[in-house]
Amino acid sequence: MAVIEGRPARGALLMARLTQASGTRSGALTIFVVRRILWMIPVVFFVILITFLLMHLAPGSPWDKAGGRQLSQVVVKNLNAKYGLDKPELQQFELYLWNVLHFDFGLSYQYEGKTVSSLIAQGLPYTATIGTLAFLLIVPVGVGLGVLAALRQNTRVDYATMGFASIAASFPNFVVGVLMVVVFSVVMYKATQGSFFLPAANFALDDHLIMPVITLSLLPIAYIARLTRASTLDTIRQDYVRTAWAKGLSERVVVVKHILKNALIPVVTTLGPEFAFLVTGSVIVETVFNIPGIGRSFVLAIDSRDYPMILGTTVLFSVVIAVANLLVDVAYVFIDPRVRLT
């Protein structure tokens, strides 16, 4: 290192350090992670901004109950003052941002005196349980089916799984949910005179979970199965798999260490969007099965124009999805050594 006269400018030293760090992979990795985290900020900000704007562009005021009586001017004025709606828009936005950073999403319009945060916290365990179960189901089942179909290409197993996947991928959550309820609750109830059926509403840590979790996971399973199959088929044809066989490796080693290790890489990248799907899917599934989670609260908030609730939930969902995508991107860098970090 050359001797530098006097003190170097701060920025120059930082640049030098960064360049040096980016030379090593662990250094570059840290930089990458930091950059990705910083990238989340404008994204979330944008989401908050857009949602906020929409809320405030809405015609009418939040106190117009559909079909209800008009509240008196005085009452409206007081309500506006109480919820800070009488201040200029920009100020409201700034205030909101500030509060969000402190995890304060304001008071709900629907439920007197309850904060949005508390309502979210209330619904969180339900949504989280179902979401986690669904996720735990999706990955092994989806990947398993895809690999199975690929290894048994063009046999009945392949056609059956892919046929199922095609259909499952096309039927929306609520359609699947409703149909499942009809078959497993209504029909079964009638057929067995009420002795055996699956419960279709409310939450409990028993067979109440079966239908919601399956409904939520069906589409991602189908999607991942198809992707895994395509990726595996592609990988099997690669030259390096042939090399692996030529080395005399056992079938298990070839399938796991050579085929799957490569084939699953694109599947990992899809986990981020799949997670996002679980989040939005929970809205529908909780409505169908009457589960008191965040998703259902969201729908109720929309029905009753509970703006803070809508805003808060949207922000939460977006942050969660952004974090999930971040984790997936970082994981991808670990999995695929060919990825360039600079």
């Binding site: 030259d239 390096y240 042939r242 030529a246 080395k247 005399g248 490796l249 080693v253 290790k261 060919r338």
Partner: protein
Amino acid sequence: MAAALLQVEDLHTQFYTSRGVVRAVDGVNFQIDAGETLGVVGESGCGKTMTALSILRLVPDPGKIVSGKILFRGKDVTKMDDDEIRDFRGNDVAMIFQDPMTSLNPVTKIGRQIEEAMTAHDRFTEHAAHDRVIELLTRVRVPAAASRVKDYPHQFSGGMRQRAMIAMGLSNEPALLIADEPTTALDVTVQAQIIQLMKQLNRELGTAMMLITHNMALVASLCQRIVVMYAGRVVEEGPVEQIFSNPQHPYTWSLLRSVPRVDEARKERLVSIRGLPPDLSNSPPGCKFHPRCPFVVDRCKQEEPELSGVGVNQVARCWVLMRNVKAADIEAAKQSSLSREAVENLKAPALGSSDKAGTIAGS
């Protein structure tokens, strides 16, 4: 006389496609002795790679070995069960492939990939394998082998990747190494290095080698005997010097003519073999080469010749044979397929004189 290391007897490998049955290997016979280097040459699609893959029973779907024997030290490879074949691959016979970039697992470290070849056959412990990898890489002249083992294939240059593949192939000290176009995907300068390396290894280790290539120069450097294949069949076979100086099959002759040679006067024109290789699901009757042969006679179009002896240890599959072709015909064939007039027109016209306006096409 000791039995051959590898003996391929009447091998037939076919592919069942929607277009019909493709006879990729159509009755091939040859043998390789211990320590010998055999060159297998021919155009793309003539069946040389499929023959090699058949030896290791790696023929991809929808192909399969239909009949014939592949005897390795007397044991028939086509009849081995799963355990035996796994033991055989990478251990008794190893194969290295054409494109080292795609032939190496991109997400596994090179060192691991080579170790894997060794530990799979229970000949080395993990620890011993790890040490041996460094030794092997050094032997194939990969610099700084000890740190290079932790690299991924994309971090190696093309030449180094091929060296790593060679190291991988030799790691279990196979009796036979099959090299499928080992230098085709490399730069010319790197090619020379690899050839040098292979020569040296062959001297040091005494490994028999089956070198598959369409590069006659490579054959000249490395091989003792050569097998020429066309349309899934052997059309000529013999010692390298003999074949090079006195090829009997017109196809061999054409192949040699299409390669520039240092020992010939510069004015000899290079001849490319006109036409394309035949469709192996629908090949011509009679001799498979007859549509492209410069010396074809009527019999060639009707009856397919058998392999017949044409010299010491040399056989060829031809009714005519080069030694029976008149010198005048040979000279005529040496001209390219363009007519004399067309050749004249290829020369740049002198500025101003354009009375010789002709077209290039036409023969």
